[in-house]
Symmetry: C2
Subunit: 190 residues, 2 copies
DNA sequence: TAAATTATTGAATCTAAATTCAACAAACTG
DNA sequence: CAGTTTGTTGAATTTAGATTCAATAATTTA
């Protein structure tokens, strides 16, 4: 099975490289040749592993979806909603340095949701219910009295849009320090 | 001079159409033929008015820069910083319905600042000092005691990233209601 | 070890989309 | 009005970049 494993490793290497470049330069500005050169491997070979650039994006997103399940799958939150979200952001921001790929994955997932991204990948990214998940969490927080009144879904959307915007900014400018997570959670806090 | 005016009108029509499409579908996914068809005019004619797609983007951004001067040019803010920013967001969000083009312009200006956008247009968009302007405003707010402590520039960056993220979300999904501006200003508020 | 399978390359092909162009129409100028 | 300038079209050209392919090397299987 060494051969199959080898192939898996290679695929993963390509996926990771693609992830990095997609976030660094944007999907459309990242050429297949850029990815191949960065792996490194010949352009031709890349198509031995992935059908097309779109499929490549799709699989990167697929990988992100897997990873996200762990997050949106949690059903019992044992701490107050504000504490949970602050902790989440804290971790996410520290990932920016320790595990850039986790961080980049989040950034990419957000970007792929936008209009103008390849349709299949977009649908897949959109299928992750992080907005809904957080909306529920926000409702919980409202009941707990820590979050302000207002449509939980709209609050959730704002929260994520802000997080997305800030993460993109961080991905764009590596000099940027991570903000204090409480600043962002303040959007929700009463 | 009717001829010259005519030409100006036409140019403006193209610029506006391009602005709308760039925001709606993204720069790279907007084809020159899309713009021409939407104006409407033949593809060829479009090049009678603009050198290239990049130049077209550049001029849209140019227009945005002009418009933004009015905003960042203000030197005397007569009201507390938090009130000023809340009012600003309030206006911006209501523009989304009344004057979509103003709103779209803001969204586009933010997008063009990102890596992977055509270099010249990007530089131009980056030349607008809205982050610095707001940073000063935030310092003022800190002195007034209404804003939290923290690096004003980082706070400013977060503020704008959030606004950008939310405006993009609004541009993407017309059903989305505008959030309460105070939610966003809460990022800054003590 | 010989056949079969898989990895690899880089140049050749294909394709979508930007850009140019030749031709014609309308408007303006003197 | 005759000529010149500007507007307009859509098809032809060009080009950047994705995708294919024929050829070769490495690895596995039997």
């Amino acid at each position: 099975m060494t051969r199959k494993e080898q192939k898996e490793e290679r695929r993963k290497a390509i996926l990771m490289t693609a992830l990095t470049l997609f976030v660094e330069k944007g999907y459309y500005d990242t050429k297949i040749t850029d990815i191949a050169a960065a792996v490194p491997m010949s352009t031709g070979l890349l198509f031995h592993y992935f059908e097309s650039k779109e499929e490549l994006l799709y699989e990167v997103v697929q990988m992100g979806v897997e990873g996200t399940k762990a997050f949106t799958g949690v059903s019992e939150i044992p701490v107050p909603a504000d504490v949970y979200l602050t902790g989440f952001l804290n971790q996410m921001f520290s990932f920016a340095k320790d595990q850039p790929w986790v961080f980049n994955m989040f950034v990419l997932m957000g970007q792929v949701r936008r209009k103008g991204m390849p349709e299949e990948a977009r649908r897949l990214a959109l299928s992750v219910g992080s907005i809904d998940f957080t909306a529920k969490l926000i409702e919980k927080g409202q009941e707990e009295g820590v979050f302000r009144e207002g449509d939980p879904r709209l609050l959730s959307t704002c929260f994520w849009a802000s997080v997305q915007g800030i993460m993109e900014e961080m991905a764009m400018d590596s000099r940027m320090k991570a903000p204090d997570p409480r600043w962002i959670v303040a959007i929700l806090r009463k």
